[in-house]
């Protein structure tokens, strides 16, 4: 039995294990932006509570979600404004960049008139916003195809890859994290640590190239390139994404694994864990049933960040593996200043980040009863 938490039984003994956890609690709860605003409502003001206040009191979780949703919409609005401003600030507009070296004044003029680029920026932004509010993201300036339709396909591909990378990497990270805690400071822990540090230190494109070199070029057992298309069967798709999935798993694994290990180790020194140990429970059972649930909040935050990365941050992996995802689509669009596509992609990416962070906060609250009932 690993003897970690038993260093100082004398000090810990008076406290009832688990019944009244110390206020410092597991790390990470103070990252919840919403809790301060909720806790400002003092119970003394009960009589003069507004309807919103009563609602907050009755179901704080629902109130939090509502508040977050409203904030998200404001955020998305700000994001769209920033993307528009950013693309406007780039040198050259769509007409000149699309035509590149082969631009003639006549052709540039034709395109500008055609797309209404001769109008002032504010007019164009509000025109776009008007369409977007009605669910119409317009057509791509370059290919003249519907943006929603094209994004649908690309987003599907991105989510497909992210999903498989996530269902492999998350259980693996948490499992390895627990193992590392169980065998802490012993060989297994060190091997896991060194391996994960190495994986996190290598740039993702390099990991990708290494996998291609070994599995596709030298051994010839993996499918490359990872191009997926409509007429592919599910098994073909799965075999196509094997290498990019493996790359992504290696890239995100270490981050989540190390956070799991640190968070659980933090809890392992609490008194209730010691009690569990004294009851004679096995080491892994203590970690999985008693320590891990209380370490879940910071781990969820890290998982949310990594999930967001898997959807929006993998353009390099997409390029290396020739995978038609959202990242490549947006980069292509930015290159020619194809504003409708850039805007739509930017909004989707922002929405993902906001949604995943909100989910992480809510899960953290559910996992920690103390946050559900703010004082």
């Amino acid at each position: 039995m690993p003897g970690g938490p038993a260093q100082d039984p004398g000090l810990m003994a008076p406290k009832a294990a688990g019944a009244n956890p110390q206020p410092s609690g597991p790390a990470g709860t103070d990252t919840l932006a919403a809790t301060p605003s909720l806790s400002t409502l003092s119970p003394a003001n009960d009589g003069i509570l507004s309807p919103w206040g009563r609602f907050v009191r009755k179901s704080p979780l629902a109130a939090l979600v509502l508040q977050r949703l409203a904030l998200s919409i404001a955020l998305l609005f700000a994001v769209s404004l920033m993307i528009f401003g950013g693309v406007e600030a780039l040198p050259g507009d769509f007409a000149t960049t699309y035509l590149g070296q082969s631009a003639t004044p006549q052709a540039v003029e034709n395109i500008r008139k055609d797309l209404g680029l001769d109008q002032p920026a504010t007019t164009r932004y509000f025109q776009w916003l008007g369409g977007a509010l009605q669910g119409d993201f317009g057509t791509s300036w370059a290919s003249r195809n519907s943006v929603s339709e094209q994004i649908g396909k690309r987003l599907g591909n991105s989510l497909f890859l992210a999903f498989f990378a996530a269902i492999i990497s998350i259980p693996l990270a948490i499992g390895l994290g627990m193992l590392a805690v169980h065998y802490r400071d012993r060989l297994a822990d060190k091997v896991i640590n060194v391996f994960s540090l190495a994986a996190i230190s290598l740039p993702e494109f390099f990991v990708g190239y290494l996998l291609i070199l070994f599995f596709a070029v030298q051994m010839g057992i993996a499918t490359f390139p990872a191009t997926v298309y409509d007429s592919m069967s599910l098994t073909e798709r799965l075999s196509a994404i094997a290498l990019p999935t493996a790359t992504l798993v290696l890239v995100v694994l270490a981050h989540m694994m190390r956070m799991t290990r640190a968070a659980i180790l933090n809890v392992m020194s609490s008194a209730y864990v010691e009690t569990a140990e004294l009851k004679g429970l096995s080491g892994l059972r203590i970690i999985a049933r008693h320590a891990a649930p209380n370490a879940v909040a910071p781990v969820i935050n890290v998982i949310a960040l990594n999930l967001a990365y898997l959807v929006v941050g993998v353009v390099v992996v997409e390029v290396v593996f020739v995978y038609p995802g959202m990242g490549q689509y947006m980069v292509d669009a930015v290159t020619v200043r194809d504003m409708p596509v850039v805007q739509a992609c930017g909004l989707i990416f922002a929405a993902f980040y906001i949604f995943l962070n909100m989910t992480a906060d809510i899960l953290a609250i559910i996992a920690n009863p103390r946050l559900r009932h703010p004082r």
Binding site: G92, S102, I111, V322, P324, Y329
Partner: protein
């Protein structure tokens, strides 16, 4: 002698040498041209094309923003896509660059070369079963010449005044005589579409050897053999799959692992590594594209021809070809034409790196202080390195060059054709006339050296309508000398097109017209199992 010519013939049989190379080497060995021609034909016949199979190409240059309309094709990827499903009126002969019939069976100019009559081929069917008519051709050309057209061929078509049908013939009336008109119609935008593509420019229906079975912009395109193809000497494989691969390493990995048969744009820096793969052939073809350093002839200090000459002599061309192109290219001679063009003026002395002459002209120019050169990696691959190399070679002549690296974003709109001294590139044009008219005519939009010379313009226009080839060639020599000795163009190198294919790929034609066998790669090769 027989041993060597036999060796050459074997190289031809193995597909390692094209007609031009064979003739050149055999002639150098004392074989008469006629005899060499016969030998080449015998050797080439030994390769019987095989039909069938699935050809996979991994190509750079596709983007999600690619348009299906051939008028708006810009990328390398769409260039090949268009060649697969469509035909132009005229094609260029791969090894000589002369116009040869395609959908136009034959043609005839008027005496002043201003009216041209094209006989349109009969019995050719579009992929949708409709028969090709003169009307389709007229509508196609009209769509590309329309004032509001966004066609990439607009510049080429500008000189066409009237397009009309005359029985089974197409008649084109030009604003001025142009002896090169058939070659202009080889432009890859000018794919003949049913009703000119007016109904649906994005339909990708044409008369080409392959039908489009699926297309996803920036991802992939697939084709199947057109069973009704009007030509039997092309379209050997059954199906084609083109995959967009914008990452150079991914292309090399895909080729060397046997996942694709052919890739384009091999980085000269990695060619030597790829050569080691036992299953791969490097295919390099001399091209018309060139990397340039351009000075504005009308802007100080470059309005001084002695300074321009000094800067020309300060360029170490051999080093550029070795270092920037990895040896896959030829040195340039400060005029934008090389021997791949028809009527190339031979025998013009090659300008070499000469620090003494550079110093002499520099002193004569009276210029002092550093010369500002703007560059960026988008100008051409290795442009920044090239600028630094140039800085070094100029320093030996006592000329100080200050290299300023500009952002790649917006380079074409803010630096090129705007600033007086910058780096850039030019792709080839089908004819000398086109090249000079695009960038050296006083009135050209893209006169990026501000070469404003009425006497040059006059010869250019005269040569255009001159049907006597000997006279025209002489005129092109005069023009080349003017640009070379008085222009603002420093042309250190013509870059080869460097592609690579698996050894299974046979029948690759080294077409001098453009990259990737002039875009016809997929329709010309076959697969040996």
């Amino acid at each position: 002698m027989t041993d060597y010519t036999n060796y050459l013939a074997r190289q031809v049989t193995l597909g390692k040498m094209n007609r031009r190379e064979f003739m050149g080497r055999a002639a150098a060995f004392g074989v008469t041209l006629a005899a060499a021609g016969t030998m080449f034909d015998t050797a080439a016949r030994a390769q019987e094309p095989k039909r069938g199979g699935h050809l996979k190409l991994g190509l750079e240059g596709a983007a999600a923003t690619d348009s299906k309309d051939p008028a708006k094709a810009l990328s390398q990827f769409m260039f090949v896509v268009g060649r697969n499903w469509g035909d132009m009126l005229v094609e260029s002969e791969p090894l000589t660059g002369k116009p040869v019939p395609a959908l136009a069976e034959s043609w005839e100019p008027s005496a002043d070369a201003a009216t041209w009559t094209f006989k349109i081929r009969q019995g050719v069917k579009f992929h949708d079963g409709k028969e090709l008519t003169v009307d389709d051709v007229v509508k196609t050309l009209q769509r590309h010449t329309d004032e509001k057209s966004e066609s990439g061929a607009l510049g080429v078509m500008k000189s066409i005044k009237e397009i009309k049908a005359d029985g089974g013939n197409l008649v084109l009336v030009l604003t001025e005589g142009n002896a090169d008109l058939p070659l202009l119609l080889t432009d890859y935008h000018l794919v003949i579409q049913p009703n000119g593509g007016l109904d649906n420019p994005d339909a990708m229906i044409g008369t080409g050897p392959y039908k489009v079975t699926s297309f996803e912009p920036g991802v992939r395109a697939t084709f199947e053999k057109n069973a009704d193809d009007w030509r039997s000497d092309r379209g050997y494989v059954d199906t084609i799959e083109m995959i967009a691969m914008n990452d150079a390493t991914a292309r090399i990995a895909a080729l060397s692992s046997g996942q694709v048969h052919y890739i384009n744009r091999v980085d000269p820096k990695t060619v030597s590594l790829l050569k080691r793969a036992p299953t791969v052939d490097i295919l390099n073809t001399s091209g018309r594209g060139h990397y340039v350093f351009i000075m504005h002839c009308n802007t100080a200090p470059f309005d001084n021809n002695d300074l321009r000459l000094a800067l020309k002599y300060a360029m170490d061309r051999e080093t550029m070809v070795q270092k920037i192109l990895g040896g896959y290219g030829k040195v340039g001679n400060d005029f934008p034409i090389n021997e791949t063009y028809a009527l190339f003026p031979e025998g013009i002395e090659q300008r070499a790196y000469d620090p003494d002459k550079a110093a002499f002209h520099y002193k004569k120019s009276g210029h002092s202080g550093p010369v500002l050169l703007r560059t960026s990696d988008v100008a051409f691959p290795g442009a920044v390195d090239a600028a630094v190399l140039y800085q070094e070679s100029a320093k030996k002549a006592g000329i100080e060059i200050e290299v300023k690296r500009e952002p790649g974003d917006g380079y074409w709109s803010n630096v090129w054709n705007v600033q007086p001294f910058s780096t850039s590139y030019w792709g080839g044009r089908p004819t000398q006339d086109q090249m000079y008219s695009t960038a050296y005519l006083s009135t050209a939009d893209w006169n990026d050296t501000r070469f404003l010379r009425p006497d040059f313009d006059k010869i250019l226009l005269e040569a255009r309508s001159e049907l006597d080839e000997a006279k025209r060639k002489e005129m092109y020599r005069t023009m080349a000398m003017m640009v070379r000795d008085e222009g603002g163009l420093i042309l250190p190198m013509f870059n080869d097109f460097v592609n690579a294919a698996s050894k299974q790929v046979k029948g690759y034609v080294h077409d001098i017209g453009n990259d990737m066998s002039n875009g016809y790669v997929a329709t010309r090769v076959w697969l040996e199992s």
